[in-house]
Subunit: 237 residues, 2 copies
């Protein structure tokens, strides 16, 4: 039986081997939700980079630049970290360079996996359908917050475990924990997360609309996948 | 308001500062449950050491030697990793040297805290009563399993959060997650953990009796606390 494993934060990635595994990276608020939205709106590629400076260099070569640091926009860039800014016709066919506090790092750290997929509640069903046709073990890598675990990415991991539990064994307690938390909260995710730390940070920034959007399930039939140094849409390429 | 934080594994300790904090170390199956039992049965001190060799050296100096590697006993030592072996009159007034796979490491790594307390379900109420009289923030350090998170130590952390939640704020999502899991499982902890990884490991070793014992709440009114390199009973010394 295939296995599903959950890594709560990139700071625990050293305990896992990803070489024979499909890694699904989740940074629900909001990097991977932005990426999925961008592909749903026709972006050609997204290149995750580590620094704002690298982002600027790619911007000079014609990329749209997207950045977020500590959940805030960076000056002079076309796109920020709200998924709604990606619902724009400039996106269609464009190449985007993106750097975020947690999500892009998690993607970069997973490079040695068989495949690196970008997950969010928005494309959960697309991910599930793809994984069921595939022969590899799966690991969900939660982007977390500066190395710490967070509730929203764990709940995404739990949602994936929940939908795969009949065909995958839970590898370790982290998968069980994520699954149990999702089972407990799934009927009212917004209420369930109301006292979570990142929700509180985001609410201070006035973006409740983003939160509600990012928690919607199964909106888009796209799967961003890492090819070389850029994410492309698995369904298209 | 004081804060309560939860660190899911020693491999995430670098994200936390413990200098102004009381650390409660939990290795429910079974190191910290053994330690609490030993103090309840009158042990004088327990010295946590990193290696079996250090344990043997202290044994030559008159200590009782206790060791466990990968949940199994070590040859030639008086005590193993079952709490029942500590219910013995040899324990009374003795000094014990103990090395375990996860628990002793977690204690050693927390040395720079204001105080390092040893927690288990067995002395949960004693810990709670002490902390309420104390002015410092609290962090629960789950010993985990070889760096990975585990369900039983997380549930202990959740139990402590649950009992302190009126007088402490939850510092981060890890505290919320632990608390939510405990709330979900507390009415039947054994059943709740039946598919957890360490439970399965322990059941293969035939020690269901230890599991049931370690999940009992509030049996003993002792608090092992680190003084220098040894644990002593806070109530006694």
């Amino acid at each position: 039986m295939k296995q599903i494993d959950v890594c709560f934060t990139p700071d625990l990635l050293h305990l896992h081997t990803v070489e024979n595994t499909i890694v699904v990276v989740a940074d629900v608020f909001r990097a991977t939700s932005c990426m999925v939205t961008a592909f749903a709106y026709g972006v050609n590629s997204i290149t995750p980079v580590a620094t704002i400076e690298e982002c600027r260099q790619l911007q000079e070569r014609g990329y749209l630049a997207a950045a977020e640091r500590n959940a805030r926009k960076v000056d002079g860039f076309e796109l920020d970290n709200s998924p709604f800014t990606y619902m724009d016709e400039r996106i269609q066919g464009a190449n985007v360079a993106m750097t975020t506090t947690n999500g892009t790092l998690a993607i970069t750290k997973s490079r040695s996996a068989v495949k690196v997929l970008v997950g969010s509640f928005l494309n959960l069903d697309a991910i599930v359908r793809y994984l069921k046709t595939d022969g590899y073990d799966v690991m969900v890598l939660c982007a977390g917050w500066k190395g710490r675990v967070n509730l929203e990415d764990t709940l995404f991991a739990g949602a994936l475990v929940d939908r795969l539990k009949d065909s995958y064994a839970m590898a370790e307690d982290s998968a069980i924990m994520a699954w149990r938390l999702y089972a407990q909260g799934k009927d009212n995710l917004i209420g369930y997360m109301s006292n979570a730390s990142h929700i509180r940070r985001l609410q201070r920034l006035g973006i409740q609309k983003d939160i509600a959007y990012c928690l919607q399930h199964d909106l888009y039939d796209v799967i961003p996948v890492l090819r070389g140094s850029a994410l492309v849409n698995m369904d298209v390429k």
